[in-house]
């Protein structure tokens, strides 16, 4: 289904960003390869959301570069993003999933097929005709995931997708994220929930005060962090 060429690896080089005179990212560099989910963790205010928006292309870098292996093509989105608080259109559940597909130039029949498949994936098929804004918080986030997944992105950015959800809704979202990762979608997710990072991460980027302090495979990071900041964060100390 996917074209043989790939947009990965993504090379991030000395990426900087400032807003209102305040430097938020101070030269962040790393490479993202295909594979299991990369989880960006760090305390609130570390610059996680800004980093994701820069990678997704919503913010222009203040310095440095975000380099995909192949040039991004807006007509066929290869990467998508789900926000902490998803913005659902004032339309039905089904129409919400179909909307970005229509923008991507996908014909009505293929659109319906993909939308149904995506709703099935997140378990919202039964609510397809309901007004999207009347769904519960967890259902709304699952719909946002379906909307992004329907595009068949190679890379999916998730910005604190469970930050405002209760445990059972969080679990449902995590299951969907894991299922997408198994299907080969590269997940790049921010969270400040260490437990969630443990459950989902293949590798971890620990961001602290606008810098990548540590980058390691999850198995090593959670057992033996190399930096005192990461160790303190994992022990639940208040780092900032």
């Amino acid at each position: 289904m996917r074209a043989p060429d790939t947009i990965l690896p993504l090379c991030v080089e000395a990426l900087r960003f400032a807003a209102g005179g305040v430097e938020i990212l101070h030269g962040v560099s790393f490479t993202l390869e295909a594979g299991p989910p990369t989880v960006v963790i760090g305390p609130n205010g570390a610059g996680k959301s800004v980093l994701l928006r820069l990678l997704h292309g919503l913010l222009p870098p203040g310095g440095g570069a975000v380099r995909w292996a192949t040039a991004p093509d807006r007509s066929a989105p290869r990467q998508a993003m789900v926000f902490q608080r998803p913005v659902l259109l004032r339309r039905s559940v089904m129409a919400n999933v179909a909307y970005p597909l229509a923008l991507a130039g996908i014909g009505p029949r293929e659109r319906a097929r993909r939308a149904e498949e995506a709703l099935d994936l997140v378990g919202l098929s039964a609510l397809a005709d309901r007004p999207a804004r009347r769904l519960s918080g967890g259902e709304q986030q699952r719909l946002a995931l379906a909307r992004a997944a329907a595009l068949g992105p190679e890379v999916l950015f998730l910005d604190e997708p469970c930050a405002s959800l209760d445990p059972s809704a969080t679990r449902a979202v995590e299951e969907i994220v894991a299922a997408l990762a198994r299907r080969g979608t590269k997940i790049v997710m921010t969270t400040h929930d260490i437990g969630q990072a443990r459950r989902l991460a293949g590798d971890v980027i620990f961001l602290h005060r606008g810098r990548v302090v540590e980058r390691a495979p999850a198995a090593r990071f959670f057992v033996a962090p190399e930096t005192p900041e990461a160790a303190a964060f994992l022990q639940g100390e208040l780092v900032w």
Binding site: L58, P77, A80, V87, R90, Y99, L103, A104
Partner: protein, 234 residues
Amino acid sequence: MGDLHAASTAALGLILAADPAVMGIVGLSLQVSLTAVLLAALVGLPLGALLAVTRFPGRQSVIVALNALMGLPPVVAGLLIYLLLSRSGPLGPLGLLFTPSAMVIAQAVLIAPILAALTRETLSGLWEEYAEQLRSFGAGPLRAVPTLLWDGRFALLTVLLAGFGRASAEVGAVMIVGGNIEGFTRVMTTAIALETSKGDLPLALALGLVLMGIVLAVNVLAQVLRSAASRWAG
């Protein structure tokens, strides 16, 4: 007081009997104002949506001008259209002056800025909410216009109703360009003005009651739409 009582009774009689003269006037009023709203909406809604999503030098001035035009006195709108349509005016050869078409044009000119300004105000909030998400989908401001118009549909219906209320209640513009010709360009407001000055209070009152009934119905409709909208907006 006796006059008022007698006039009211006669007015009710005219309405209940569906007096042909009254019905003709009411029918033309509705036809003119509804057509005017439709025409004004074709221009005002996209224009307002465009102003909500685009940023360009001079945008603030356009918005101020639009807001000022919301208060355009109907007689001035009527005068401008009169000058355009009069025999020596640039559009004189069309022969539209003193026809219902001229009244439609005058009312459309009067309410298009109102629809545009209210649309911009309504959709600005929606755009603020949607902008980042739509950009994430790859939709720029221009592509967002139809999206916002559709997603703001309930609020925009109340905008249209506001425009219709303004159109059906104004008297100055249609009086000037329509000429209040009986059976041809006489609408409720111009008839009320004329019949009152002639002293035919029952007819004036009957039309006034119908006009108020229409305004009331429009507001009930707006209220119903607002609650429908909140059901969807969640």
